[in-house]
Symmetry: none
Subunit: 197 residues, 2 copies
């Protein structure tokens, strides 16, 4: 599978070039990957800052054409650049906002009383209300295993073998809050956690 790049470097736009290409190394037009000039990066960044995130074909074409003025470039490079930049910006943002860890605890106070359901919810589900306010852990009425399976059909448990092992461990302990550093994987195997029977 991991075949090494069939030589598509051949296509390497020899058109532009004259060994100009990029950057210091002097290694001229390597068939390798695009190496943007600072002007190109500047323009792309400006466009991104202006709100452009996933340019259309036409836009890519135009951008590419314009940027070719500053050096070798292909439209796919523009395409990829926006993909990567968008993804990595988001990623960066995500990392920053990972500190929000103090949920719960505060509001765990005394709001156990049943709140009259909002209209819509009540309309649809007036038949039953929440009775799961008991936080004493095991409270599950044995019902029908089958439904549980329906409910968590596939990998919803997102647990690999290792997780299952962890589940075994957690089995006895009352509270598995021993979760790892982050949100590694909640120790929860819903497939059979219901019915102790």
């Amino acid at each position: 599978m991991e075949e090494g790049m069939s030589g598509f470097c051949i296509k390497a736009s020899s058109v532009r070039g004259t060994g100009t290409t990029s950057t210091t190394s002097g290694t001229g037009t390597k068939c390798g990957r695009w190496n943007p000039t600072s002007e190109q990066v500047k323009v792309l960044t400006d466009l991104f800052k202006s709100g452009l995130r996933t340019p259309s074909t036409d836009q890519i074409q135009k951008i590419s054409t314009q940027l070719s003025f500053y050096g070798k470039i292909e439209s796919k490079n523009v395409f990829y650049w926006f993909q990567n930049h968008k993804a990595r910006e988001r990623q960066k943002r995500r990392k920053v906002s990972i500190d929000d860890h103090d949920h719960h605890k505060d509001f765990v106070i005394l709001r156990e009383e049943r709140i009259s359901s909002p209209k819509r919810y009540a309309e649809i589900y007036h038949h039953h209300d929440d009775h799961n306010d008991h936080d004493d852990g095991q409270v599950l009425e044995p019902e029908r295993v089958i439904e549980t399976l329906q409910l968590f059909p596939l990998n919803s448990v997102g647990v690999s073998e290792s997780e299952k092992l962890r589940y075994e461990c957690k089995d006895t302990s009352a509270f598995p809050y021993t979760f790892e550093t982050e949100m590694n994987h909640p120790p929860l195997d819903l497939r059979l956690s219901f019915f102790t029977s």
Copy 2:
């Protein structure tokens, strides 16, 4: 953030009485809205990924019961979570398309082994025949120049012709990085350089 959140916390306040001040701001954060733990979100997300969209009453009941193991939760929270998540996923998709001025994607990435050409993307021009059957008058872009403006809305256009001359010089010299300590403004005026047609 905005989070419309009908203020059903008010109803709850009738019982709680702990300074139900309901947090002036209207955000109602303090009034005790559900604040899911990462484990809860994980499970819900997994369920969603597994294909669950609108859980039935029973399912909600069970999910809620399970998730109460990780923290405070009510069945209505589960109900709303699914509703919101579904809606926002859809919304997100829509928004991305529109927000990016992303009218029509003729841009596809040919992947896999199918294509003889190297594994990269290829452009496909749908060549949509302009049905100008805009029933509501303003369908979309009047193409042409306007699109260019859309494309470079802000300051990315702040350039003069002189810069272009500079490019000429660069042609021979390895790199014109010399100018402008950093990259003050890339010599580029995209506004009208495009459409020769």
